[in-house]
Structures are given as structure tokens and as C-alpha cells.
């Protein structure tokens, strides 16, 4: 069983939902990332998504765009990133998901990239520009190694939801809003409807996480109350990291994580 699957089983037994946190590797530097991870673990994050920067992050809003640019300017490279993952693995067993864009994997070769990532301690992948139609080689490469987390949008048809959930493992990522990451629009009715529809179509075969624009404990509470199995918070963590001095990051992140995590306990 994958680390992610085990985590969801463990939470299920405790009648809890998952808090998934996203941070950008190397933003604003590697030590900050390590401190942030420690804070996330301490605060109770169930799964950690690590962003690997891409020069052209077309599904991301300004916060993650800026973090990507800065991380690249600081010299974040694939090899160094895998070393960082290994360091994180020494601190924690928390499932780690790598979020980046298709070209980063394509360029190295899906198989080679996924094998190296797995060896370093990565448990799954999220690629926002990978559609299921183009995913055959990627899925073959990931088979038996890592989970493949696909995205679903509020405008995805029922038939497609089923197809996407068949290709997904670990969890399904429901994009809460029409828009890029980090845009705050408040909780929309169409999102609540989409959560129910996706839950209905997937019949509990794979957990459903809700992300994009989720930033407060109240957001977490609301999505959990309508049936989300997991809630994903990203840009809010990056903003907090950005404005916090290095030596306070662990503590601040831990406190914020705790405030979010509390809302996932039913």
C-alpha cells in the first residue's frame, strides 16, 4: 500500500479528514523549506506537496508564480531537489507529493524521473497540465512506483470524472474555482455542488481533495462539512513563509497548520 493510501486509511479509522499542504521547494531558500516542513509536520499536516519550479507555470496565480521564479533564481535544480527530499525523509514519514509541470518529467523521461523521485522518497505526482488523454506513458512509468493524482474541475462532465478517477491513485484533486492557484473568491455554490458530484461519481474508490483558493480554517471546515476527504492549502503557506523571518518559520507554520488541521477532525 502506498504511503498516501495508508495515510487515508489511518485518518479514516480516526474519523478525520486530511489536511494537505503545499510549499514551493527552495522558496525563499532550501533551509526555509526544511524549517517549513518541520512546522508542517509538527502542526499535523497529513500530506505535504512539494512544488518543483517551472519557468512557465500556466495554472498558477501570482503567489506561486513568484515563488517559482525566485526558487529558480536561487538555483533550484532537479538533483538538488531530490537531495532535499532525502533530507526531509530523514525527518518525517509524511507522504510527499511532487507538484510540477509535465515538461520537467518529459524532458528527463517519465520513467527515469519517476524512478529517481521514488528513490528519494516521493510518493505521488500532480501535473496540472497533464490531461488523461496524454497520460499513457506517464501512467505506465508510475505504475507500481508512485501515485498519480489528476485534477478535476467544476466543469468536468460526469463521464470524464469517472475516467479521471480510474486513472488516479492516492487522491483526486478537485479544483475548487475557475481560476489559477491562490485566487480568493470566497466559497462558491458550484464548488459545493462539484464536491458532491465528484463524491457520487467516484463512489469512495479514491479520496477527493479540494484545493485552489483555500486559505482559512473556515474554508477547511466548510469543505469538510460537505464531504471533502481532504483539503489542500498552498498559496496561504507561501505568503506566511514570505513574511516570516527564517528563525520563526517552523513555529509560525506549525501554529497555522494546527489551526487548519483542527477543522478536519469531525
Amino acid at each position: 500500500m502506498s504511503r498516501i493510501k495508508e495515510k487515508f486509511a489511518e485518518l479514516d479509522a480516526k474519523n478525520e479528514k486530511a489536511l494537505i499542504s503545499y510549499i514551493m521547494a527552495g522558496f525563499p531558500n532550501e533551509n526555509a523549506t526544511l524549517s517549513a516542513v518541520k512546522g508542517l509536520v509538527k502542526g499535523g499536516a497529513d500530506i505535504i506537496e512539494l512544488g518543483f519550479p517551472f519557468s512557465d507555470p500556466l495554472a498558477d496565480g501570482p503567489v506561486i508564480q513568484n515563488a517559482s521564479t525566485l526558487s529558480l533564481e536561487k538555483g533550484t535544480k532537479i538533483g538538488k531537489f531530490f537531495e532535499l527530499v532525502k533530507k526531509i525523509r530523514k525527518i518525517t514519514d509524511t507522504p510527499l507529493v511532487l507538484m510540477t509541470y509535465t515538461n520537467i518529467l518529459y524532458n528527463k523521461g517519465y520513467s527515469k524521473f519517476i524512478s529517481e523521485a521514488k528513490k528519494a522518497g516521493i510518493d505521488g505526482f500532480i501535473l496540472p497540465d497533464m490531461s488523461i488523454e496524454e497520460s499513457k506513458e506517464y501512467l505506465n512509468a508510475a505504475k507500481g512506483k508512485t501515485d498519480t493524482i489528476f485534477l478535476i474541475s467544476p466543469n468536468t462532465s460526469k463521464e470524464r470524472i469517472r475516467k479521471i478517477s480510474d486513472a488516479s491513485s492516492g487522491f483526486l484533486y478537485l479544483v475548487a474555482v475557475y481560476g489559477t492557484t491562490g485566487v480568493k473568491t470566497g466559497i462558491k455554490n458550484y464548488t459545493l455542488k462539484a464536491i458532491k458530484e465528484v463524491k457520487k461519481q467516484t463512489k469512495g474508490k479514491v479520496p477527493v481533495g479540494v484545493g485552489f483558493g483555500v486559505s482559512t480554517p473556515a474554508d477547511v471546515k466548510k469543505y469538510v462539512s460537505v464531504g471533502a476527504d481532504a483539503v489542500i492549502v498552498g498559496s496561504a503557506f507561501l505568503k506566511l513563509i514570505e513574511k516570516t523571518p527564517q528563525n520563526k518559520i517552523e513555529q509560525k507554520i506549525s501554529a497555522f497548520t494546527k489551526s487548519l488541521k483542527t477543522q478536519t477532525r469531525l
Partner: protein
Amino acid sequence: MKYPKSGRFGEFGGKYIPETLVPAVQELEENYLKFKNDKRFKKELDYYLKQYAGRPTPLYFAKNLTEKIGGAKIYLKREDLLHGGAHKINNTLGQALLAKKMNKKRIIAETGAGQHGVATAMACAALGMKAEVYMGYKDTIRQKLNVFRMNMLGSKVHPVKSGSKTLKDAINEAIRDWITNVENTYYLLGSAVGPHPYPVMVRDFQSVIGNEIKSQMKKLHNKTPDSVIACVGGGSNAIGTFYPLVDTNAEIIGVEAAGKGLKSGFHSATLSAGSKGVLHGMMTYLLQDKEGQITETHSISAGLDYPGVGPEHSYLKDQKRVKYHSATDTEVIDAFLLLTRTEGIIPALESAHAIAEAVKVARKHKQSESIVVTLSGRGDKDVEEVQNYLNKHVKD
């Protein structure tokens, strides 16, 4: 490849897009397939191409240039004479009309130098619509006049300050807008790039160039051209020129921007020096570093300054059906001045890449042979750039 249902030209192309865009791209494909063979749509588009844009464009025998070179006959396909001064209007009229049929109220577009933005703004004004155009912040400064033109035509320009602040970032930002406003927005892409069906659709709208060349050459010489040459940025004027001629025996050459030289790192020669990758919804040749990060490009012509290329060109390159060469900034300036002086035609710097190649090809070919060069645009927009270049580089 006629209409690749899979969305792929061989291994190239596809639809690497965020899930939110999947229904929009499907809707676009369905509507495109429905209207492309619709008699009324075709008639309406024909009307605008003729009466508004000025088609057909002449196939001009460049006698002076031919004599000066002393080789094969050089013909110029005069897309520079179109309304707006470039081939871009062929595509924007087609897509704007399609958007109107689809009842899309909001049009967005990206632009590099501003040529596609201006052509979009014109087509939208003509059809009673308004466009919002994303343009790299650097380009809004380099091409201030085009920003003003778009504004006058009733379109709004959004300067893009992310990434390298140029064309590729303008496309990223247009895609972000599309994700956010997917329900009511039509994305009017400016070249034969992006996710399927854009590369095919833009090619089809631009194929009027190659189709006219074919019938004009037939009338003149009762044969197909021996060589055809066009410049390649994203590749729309080139694929529009090439596609109707790929089944003939014509030698076909696409010309990329070699900038300061292919070895200098300052160029935009994607097919000559790139490697396969995924960007802007398509798998194609890209300029990227060893880790898959897209690299910045350079060309004296803003319209060729793009790190990707249309997937059908990648396919035609690997099939060895089309040769892809390149011209450096210096060669391009020489070709620009040569055409201006010999024929009294000021070419766009983009098109001057094709002229530079045509001169080389004409020298190697017999006088009985004929070469057609697509003159994709006129050079009025580039006069200042050329002046600056000459001031910097010519001492006498």
C-alpha cells in the same frame, strides 16, 4: 496530415492542458468542425477576406532582385499588402467569425510585437466585438505604437509582468485568463501553436496563402513552384504556405531566426537547435535547458521571438519533408536593405529571414526554376529598429 483526429501530427501536438480547459477546447473543436465546411460560414469569411482584408494577394515577380542575384526566378507572395500589413488577418478574421458563431462575448488574445494583437483588434472591430490582449511588459515598451493602435481599435491591452515579460509569458497569462473566464471567453491564438485543434485550425485559415500560390503559379507557368520559402516563428504563415504544397515536388524551406548565431545562445531557432518538450498545451520542439526549463530567446524581429514552434513543423522536420534553415540578424538586415533597394518593397524583419534564404537558394538554382517566397508582412513597423541597428553596427 489532413485533420488529425487524435490531435497529433505523428508524435507531436496533443492537448496538454489544465482540466478546466478541456470542455472549452472540446467545444471549440466541435464548432470548428461544424463551421469549417458550412457554406454560409465559408461565404462570409470569403467576403471579409476579399472585401475587407484585400485577398487575393499578388504573386509578384521580383525581376530586379532576380537579375541582381542571377539565378532562379524569385516570386513574392505579397501578404504584406493585406489590411493591417501582415498575414495575421487571415487567421484573426477566421477565428473572430467562429467566435461570433459560437456566441462568445469576450475575446482574448496574446501578442508579441503587437501584430497579432492589432489584427485581432481589427477583426473584432469589423465584426462588432471587443478584444483584450495580453502583451509582455517588455514588448509594450518596445512596441508602444502598436499598444496605442490596439487601444484606438477599441481593444484593451494588459501588460504582462511575469516571467521573461515577453510573448511566451503573454500566452501563459492569456491561458490563465481563459481558465478563469472559461464560460464566456474565446481565446484567439495567433499562430499554429497551442493545444489541438489550434494548430490545425490556424493552419487551415492560413492555407489560403499556399492555395493562392498554387493557382497563381499554374496560371503563370502551368506548374508548381520548384521551391517555396517562408519564415517560421510559431509557424502560421509558413504552414499556410507549405501545407497546400507538401504533396507536390516542391522543395520546401522554413527559415528560423538565428539571432546572433546558433552557437551564441541568442536566437529563436527552435527546430534547428531545440529539443522535444511540452509547452503551451503541445508536444513539440522547444528551446529549453538540460532540466526542461524554457530558455529566453532572441531575434531582431519580435515576431519570431518564441521558444516553441507549431507541432506540424516538428513533424515535417522529422519526416524530412521540409528543411528548416536559419538566418542571422546581420543576414536579415542585409536582406531587408536588398529588397528595399532593388524592388522598393520594405519587408517585415520576420519576412526578411525568408528573403535572406531565397537569395542563397536562387544562386544555386537554374534560371528556368522558380522560387516563391512568402512575404508575410510589411516593414514599416521595423524601420526604427533597422535604423538603430545600422547606427550601432555601421561605422561609415
